[in-house]
């Protein structure tokens, strides 16, 4: 993964800063002065959908066209003296009066935390709520990309985590996406489950609720059509089960500092802030607020919505600031389309086309992007701007900017997300240069260097599987004993049958050219049947920071001799190695690398000091003193058969038999 330090760029960045109009005061914001540690993986995006088509023309009143505006809207207009002033030094074509209910928008803007994007939408705009909403969520438009069938956030996440199968992995234990609303989950639409839906869920008790509902899962899945249906059900159960607990845990670990209204959007954002403050590394949060379909009685309906939305956004931002998270989150607000310039006969407005987007956060280069819509445009389509001629910012360039310049997506990733590279070069510069994830900071997709491994330890070997006494007696710790700071997943030590855990082992990847060089190592869990599973509970041991390639693979244990593959093996989607199989080629220096116990190869027991040789030092300096003491996992090394006791069996059956054996690499 490419996480080069961005310090050098941050301090001396010379990116043009005056491309767009910026409010006064923005340069004083503290984050400009701080060094930006380039780690976009800690960042997230919140997407808010104003469901029902927000009338943008009554959000941002074009001060340069007040005459025509008033003509078009005799009943739903605002008079100039009612409007909130925004920024007096904007050019005429950008001069906006804000709806009087948007004082919190004004506050965020003047605080340097909001970008206003004018004329957003897509070509050949569809005026059906659901069709257009789906197009937004699918990265589509009314032309070339009208048949996209997956959410663009799903496309983005699929590119970023190609190995992902709907369950947590070591580098990210949180759901990659969280959906707070109903429609908004469409952004994640795909075969793989990328999101956890919290709509109507009591987040606090989510984990325990799901846990109490699941029975004992079926374990013998037949290889039949019913089997594939059952596997799907199990996958969903596991995903919800692990993520529900995690979501509840992060939620309960987090807190809110700012005060929020008790209102739908505020409640959603409050939960999101609490999750992030509790340590959630969820990448995308989606939320929504309905009621914007103002065909009638517009002012009485839209005004309170704008007020509530502004208050929710401001509370959220203040909360993030107070929690020290303001540099980690950007919020994007959109609506599926705008409304007609001309009011209808019912004190409302009908479905239109383009509208504004709002981008909020410390990382945002505040300002007005684009100019006021042209009310006098002769190419108006049914009283709304022609989406093909008045389109100023394709929404995909806005989201593309967030995904690339904020989340660190590469050009390749953006191309995969939107099925075209054409939105990369037209991106608006929405992100503050100091916090921008420039090319050096972009994150390559995690290819998922992962391996299915099997090995046996001689000490606990009982013929066909291994004893699990340490586990049975609750002696195994949650944290690994190798200093890799791995934590076992919650139910690790509850597994039954062959899947019971024997002990922690250490898995190493070594350089293909020089196997003496360690590339990566992590602790993993050994099951009674020899399978080595990731500490996160996934069947494969997973190295998130290691690019795919060829590596030697070695297994170490704190009192057994290590064993390594004879050759570097190539990592792909299905890499597997079975050290216990006599036909597997393991590295040797001339001696037997492992002990053949009834056809199953087992790692030699006895190397208590981990120096690669079983000798008198092991016995005299470890076994002798320890046999008198009480067993303590981690500090006791001489318990060769892993039964939780250091006694004569360890010395006579294992150490003596293996004395003088050496590790073969």
């Amino acid at each position: 993964m490419n996480r080069r330090n961005f310090l050098k760029n941050a301090a001396f960045t010379s990116a043009p800063m005056f491309l767009n109009s910026m409010p006064l005061g923005v340069f004083a914001s503290p984050q400009m002065l701080e060094a930006f540690s380039c780690n976009p993986d800690d960042r997230s995006v919140v997407v808010i959908h104003l469901n029902g088509a927000n009338d943008g023309l009554n959000n941002l009143i074009p001060l340069n066209q007040m005459g025509l505006y008033s003509d078009y809207r005799p009943n739903v207009k605002f008079a100039q003296n009612e409007l909130l002033t925004l920024q007096a030094d904007l050019p005429d074509a950008q001069q906006i009066g804000l709806n009087p209910n948007m004082d919190d928008f004004k506050h965020l803007y003047e605080n340097g935390q909001m970008a206003i994007v004018q004329g957003a939408g897509y070509p050949n705009l569809n005026r059906s709520h659901f069709a257009s909403g789906r197009l937004w969520a699918f990265g589509g438009d009314g032309g070339t990309y009208k048949n996209n069938k997956r959410g663009f956030m799903a496309e983005y996440l699929a590119n970023r985590y190609p190995f992902y199968e709907g369950v947590p992995f070591s580098e990210n234990l949180d759901p990659l996406g969280i959906s707070m609303g109903t429609f908004e989950k469409t952004f994640y639409c795909s075969d793989t489950i990328y999101h956890t839906s919290l709509k109507g869920i009591n987040v606090n008790g989510f984990g325990s609720a799901v846990n109490s509902l699941l029975g004992e899962q079926i374990s013998n899945i037949p290889n039949t059509d019913q089997g594939s249906a059952l596997n799907h059900i199990l996958a969903v159960e596991n995903s919800v089960n692990v993520y529900s607990e995690r979501v509840s845990a992060t939620f309960n670990a987090g807190n809110n500092i700012a005060t929020y209204d008790n209102e739908s959007l505020a409640n959603q954002l409050k939960i999101i802030a609490k999750l992030i403050s509790g340590g959630s590394k969820t990448k995308i949060f989606t939320a929504g607020k309905g009621g914007w379909d103002t065909h009638g009685d517009q002012k009485n309906r839209q005004n309170p919505l704008l007020k509530a939305t502004g208050r929710a956004l401001r509370s959220f931002q203040e909360d993030l600031t107070a929690l020290g998270l303001a540099d980690k989150v950007i919020t994007v607000v959109f609506s599926e389309f705008g409304r007609k310039f001309r009011e209808n006969g019912g004190n409302g407005t009908d479905h239109g086309t383009l509208g504004p987007m709002y981008v909020v956060g410390n990382g945002v280069k505040a300002g007005v992007y684009g100019t006021n819509p042209l009310l006098a445009d002769e190419f108006l389509v049914k009283d709304a701007p022609n989406p093909n001629t008045q389109l100023q910012y394709d929404y995909r360039t806005v989201f593309g900017t967030i995904l690339q310049d904020w989340m660190g997506a590469s050009d390749t990733a953006i191309t995969a997300t939107f099925k075209t590279a054409s939105f990369i070069n037209t991106k608006p510069e929405l992100i503050l240069p100091a916090l921008k994830a420039g090319p050096d900071c972009q994150v390559d997709p995690t290819q998922g260097t992962a391996i299915t491994l099997k090995a046996f330890l001689e000490g606990p070997m009982n013929g066909s599987s291994m004893n699990t006494t340490l586990n049975t007696n609750s002696l195994l710790p949650d944290k690994d004993p190798y200093g890799a700071l791995q934590t076992a997943y919650d139910e690790a030590f509850d597994a039954t049958g062959d899947a019971q855990i024997v002990d922690w082992v250490r898995v190493e990847l070594r350089d293909a050219a020089n196997p003496a060089t360690l590339v990566a190592a992590k602790a993993a869990l050994l099951q009674a049947n020899g399978q080595i599973i990731d500490a996160s509970g996934t069947a494969k041991v997973f190295f998130g920071d290691v690019p795919r390639g060829d590596y030697y693979v070695a297994i170490q244990h704190y009192n057994h001799l290590g064993v390594m593959t004879a050759n570097a093996i190539t990592f792909d989607d299905n890499t597997a190695f079975d050290f216990s199989d006599p036909n597997s080629a393991v590295y040797t220096n001339g001696a037997m690398a492992q002990n053949n116990v009834g056809g199953i190869l087992c790692m030699w027991a006895g190397d208590m000091n981990g120096d690669g040789t079983i000798n008198a030092v092991d016995k005299n300096e470890y076994w002798k003193p320890e046999q008198a003491d009480n067993f303590t996992y981690g500090s006791s090394k001489a318990d060769l058969n892993l039964d939780g006791v250091v006694n004569d069996v360890d010395k006579n059956t294992y150490w003596r038999a293996n004395n003088s054996k050496q590790q073969q690499f």
Binding site: F130, I193, G215, N223, D225, A229
Partner: protein, 557 residues
């Protein structure tokens, strides 16, 4: 080798349960036992009975008891439904249809839902009488002809509004309906083989079809179809494009002559001839028949199609559909009577049909509800109007949570489990899970949104339907384990699609025993029989019930 050859011999319980689960919403132990003695032929014929509706006059006013739809004279559309809002009216209409489904012991409403899933509508909130009209059309054609249905539904007001054909006119053609008609409703989009060419039709065909479909307008409520008696759109001369309609090589470059006539009436009548020619042209393509048989196959049989099944099932059924001039009934009967449907056409144990699909919210909710005889607790409309609607509404509303947005799918593509890759697996989602797995508890506590009194009394239910002793004493101890096994086996064989074995069987049995012995449970049971006190026995039975309903196997059928 997938075979449509008829299955012979009586069904037995397992296959009878399979047939009932796949083709109806009413699966009870009594019905399974009744159908178990029948041959596939007799059983399927029985399922095609034409029973009267429970409320044949449609939804009725809760205050007056009058049929909302038919009390109005032919000229005016219903609008007084207790002064309810449009949104509530729509819900009442939905609940009426739901009630018909819930109590339908035949295949009729299963087929009506098939038609709905094939010709999708949505956005019904303020379109209550249109929704009702559309639902009546589904019922009318459930045992009918899908080609005729394609014609009638094109003129259906609900459809006209949903896909804008109502406003499709010569001066402003709207392609919405024409596109979905080809892409989703009939011949389906094939592989893209050129710019705007989707094998089965082209972009130009859509433009041409949109012209042909101009001018069919929802005129007024009184304008009824002579065959169905339902409201239909009227051809309006001034709104129609009278040019000749030239289609692409996908349709053999067919030209459908623009309507003509000596006067307005003749011209408008000839507009319908244009529509009929258009339908004939599309249904003249074998691909259209194949599209429907594939949909039927996914709907009734399996999520998986391969080349062998294409050759041995889809093609012969498509030919049968054509031979029968698009009558659905003979085709569905052939499918449900076939060896293939019962897994008896080959030795391959892996391609199992039985239990190979995931239940949709419809099957999960309604079959569970009926199996537990809870529907019998829904009062008849005549006796208790308020609670009739309340109960039905409570159950229906659960469907959305279960991932089945009843008559309100998210898009014109329809319900995920009927068309998305993976088919029925799409019914079981992370969002649906928590609601589906909470259902057992809601049933036990009668805890519905509307505080419905529909509540399962566990002990009497098991007592009525399954075998447990009335007396039990020390002399019976040696038989205790066998008695429990008999009971558990009886329950599992009708509630799960495949009998579990080994550890899995023990898991369900142990749920009954609740960590104690068979003897203990049987003492609890006879104590209940003696005293009527359910507190102890319900603990065990509740465990058992939850273990079954929340098992992975119960989600499949």
């Amino acid at each position: 080798m997938a075979s449509l050859d008829p299955k012979s011999g009586v069904l037995g319980k397992r296959l009878a349960a399979h047939l009932l689960r796949r083709s109806t919403f009413v699966v009870t132990k009594a019905r399974i036992e009744q159908f178990a003695t029948m041959t596939a032929d007799a059983a399927v014929e029985a399922l095609f009975a034409n029973n009267p509706l429970r409320n044949p006059e449609g939804p009725r006013d809760r205050t007056t008891g009058l049929a909302w739809y038919s009390v109005h004279d032919a000229e005016t559309k219903p609008n007084d439904f207790s002064g309810e809002s449009n949104g509530v009216k729509t819900k009442l209409v939905q609940s009426w249809f739901f009630q018909e489904m819930l109590f339908d012991t035949t295949i009729k409403h299963k087929l009506a839902i098939f038609l709905h899933s094939t010709f999708i509508i949505g956005s019904t909130t303020s379109r209550n009488w249109q929704l009702y009209n559309y639902m009546r059309l589904l019922q009318y054609f459930a045992y009918g002809n899908i080609k005729t249905f394609a014609y009638k539904v094109t003129l259906d007001p609900m459809m006209g509004l949903y896909l804008d054909n109502h406003s499709n006119r010569n001066t402003a053609p709207n392609e919405n309906y024409a596109r979905e008609f080809l892409e989703l409703f009939t011949i389906l989009k094939g592989e893209q083989i050129g710019q705007g060419n989707y094998t089965n039709y082209t972009e130009d065909d859509i433009i041409t079809a949109a012209k042909l479909l101009t001018g069919f307008r929802i005129q007024n409520y009184a304008f009824k179809d002579a065959d169905t008696g339902l409201v239909t759109s009227k051809p309006i001369k001034n709104r129609h494009d009278f040019s000749d309609k030239q289609f692409s090589s996908a349709f053999g470059n067919q030209v459908i002559a623009g309507a003509t006539g000596v006067d307005n009436a003749a011209k408008e009548a000839d507009m319908l001839r244009e529509l009929q020619d258009f339908i004939d042209m599309i249904f003249g393509q074998l691909e259209t028949a194949k599209a429907y048989t594939r949909k039927l196959y996914y709907y009734f049989v399996s999520d998986k199609l391969d080349a062998t099944k294409e050759a041995n099932v889809i093609t012969p059924l498509a030919n049968l559909l054509v031979t029968n001039n698009f009558d659905l009934v003979p085709v569905v009967k052939t499918l449900l009577k076939s060896q293939h449907f019962y897994d008896e056409d080959d030795d391959n144990a892996l391609d199992n049909i039985i239990a190979g699909k995931v239940k949709s919210g419809l099957e999960y909710m309604m079959q569970t509800f009926n199996f537990l005889n809870l529907s019998a607790l829904v009062p008849d409309f005549e006796t208790d109007r308020t609670n009739n609607y309340k109960d039905i509404d409570s159950i229906r509303r659960k469907l959305v949570e279960q991932g089945y947005p009843f008559f309100a799918p998210a898009s014109v593509e329809g319900y995920d489990g009927y068309y998305k890759n993976g088919y029925s697996c799409n019914w079981f989602t992370s969002t649906a899970l928590i609601h589906r797995y909470s259902f057992y508890d809601q049933i036990l506590r009668g805890k519905y949104k509307n505080n419905s009194a529909l509540k399962l009394e566990l002990a009497p239910f098991f007592d009525t339907n399954f075998t447990l002793p009335s007396t039990f004493g020390p002399a019976d101890f040696p038989q205790a384990d066998a008695m429990i096994e008999t009971f558990v086996t009886e329950v599992l064989e009708v509630m799960l699609p495949v009998m579990p074995t080994g550890d899995r069987y023990n898991y369900f049995r142990d749920a009954v025993l609740n960590g104690l012995s068979s003897i203990n449970f049987l003492f609890e049971w006879v104590n209940y029989k003696d005293t009527g006190d359910t507190s102890d026995v319900n603990e065990s039975l509740g465990n058992f019930f939850k273990a079954i309903l929340n098992s992975e196997e119960y989600q499949t059928f």
